[in-house]
Amino acid sequence: MKRALTAALLVLLALPLLYAVAQLPPHGSASSPPYTHVSPRYLERGPVEAGAENVVTDVILNYRGFDTNGEVTVIFTALAAVLAVLLGVRKDAGPVAGEPRAMSPVSPVVSFVVRLLAPFVALFAIYVILNGHVSPGGGFQGGAIIGALVIVTTVIVGRSQAEALVPARARRLLQAAAPLTFVCIGIAGLLMFGDYLAFPRVADLAWLRTAWLIAIEMGIGVGGAAIIATIFWTMGDE
């Protein structure tokens, strides 16, 4: 009985969905609305309207800012979930769950190469974040590069030394940097131009638009890096 009911419900759910899918324009069809209206508009007017020469940044941060705002919130929530699970497990296991695993010593070759390359990787990451509105890249990419850099640095110098670089008080703030920056810019848009996440559109305020884009990119970069680093540090715990 229960199974029959489940099957019936699934069929009832599937039929309207399949009907809706059947109404979609064929995949890749040049006459579908995204190709006739949306993409040409983005490509032609993106740099003028949205303020970034990199059209991808225009779409992500300006045209579809709401989506990205939700996205960074999702990433932050994912960190919260990971921390809840990992820290909860550790509490249950108790402090004497096992001997701390001895870290195998890092090869001098790896150590030397990481130390040699780290400043350049950091510079590249900052460039990717700050130049995201002009060239390919942006907050997500630069943040991931910084996160990866933090991970290799932790492997070389050990967790305690790497973690000491980030002040304990600032940590929570850094982890939430992306959603916080987004909401701040969103509210600034609300106060100044009457809509949440409204960007200045007049040519006189083009500098402000660029400044906001860079601010969001920096927030996403810092927040992303902090989240990646925190997950890695928490997983390596015990």
Partner: protein, 80 residues
């Protein structure tokens, strides 16, 4: 020419995906999976999406691999 390059990458991508699934040694599977990410990164770049390629290289090949390695270090290396 361009299509041949794409096709080669896609074939390699499929092969590495299958290999990652079939490998019983999880450490090996993780290494194969990071190869998969690098191939996918090349495909993104070649298809004109450098933004996605950068993310794929940093997150897919870099961070995810490390997180998998840490997880293996805390559990077992062989699939049962």
């Amino acid at each position: 020419m361009s299509h041949a390059f794409d096709l080669t990458l896609l074939l390699l991508l499929t092969a590495s995906a299958l290999a990652a699934i079939r490998t019983k040694d999880l450490l090996g599977a993780v290494v194969i999976f990071s190869t998969y990410s690098l191939l996918l990164c090349l495909i993104w770049q070649h298809r004109g999406a450098p933004d996605v390629a950068m993310t794929e290289a940093a997150v897919g090949a870099g961070v995810t691999t490390v997180l998998f390695l840490v997880a293996i270090g805390k559990t077992v290396r062989r699939e049962r």
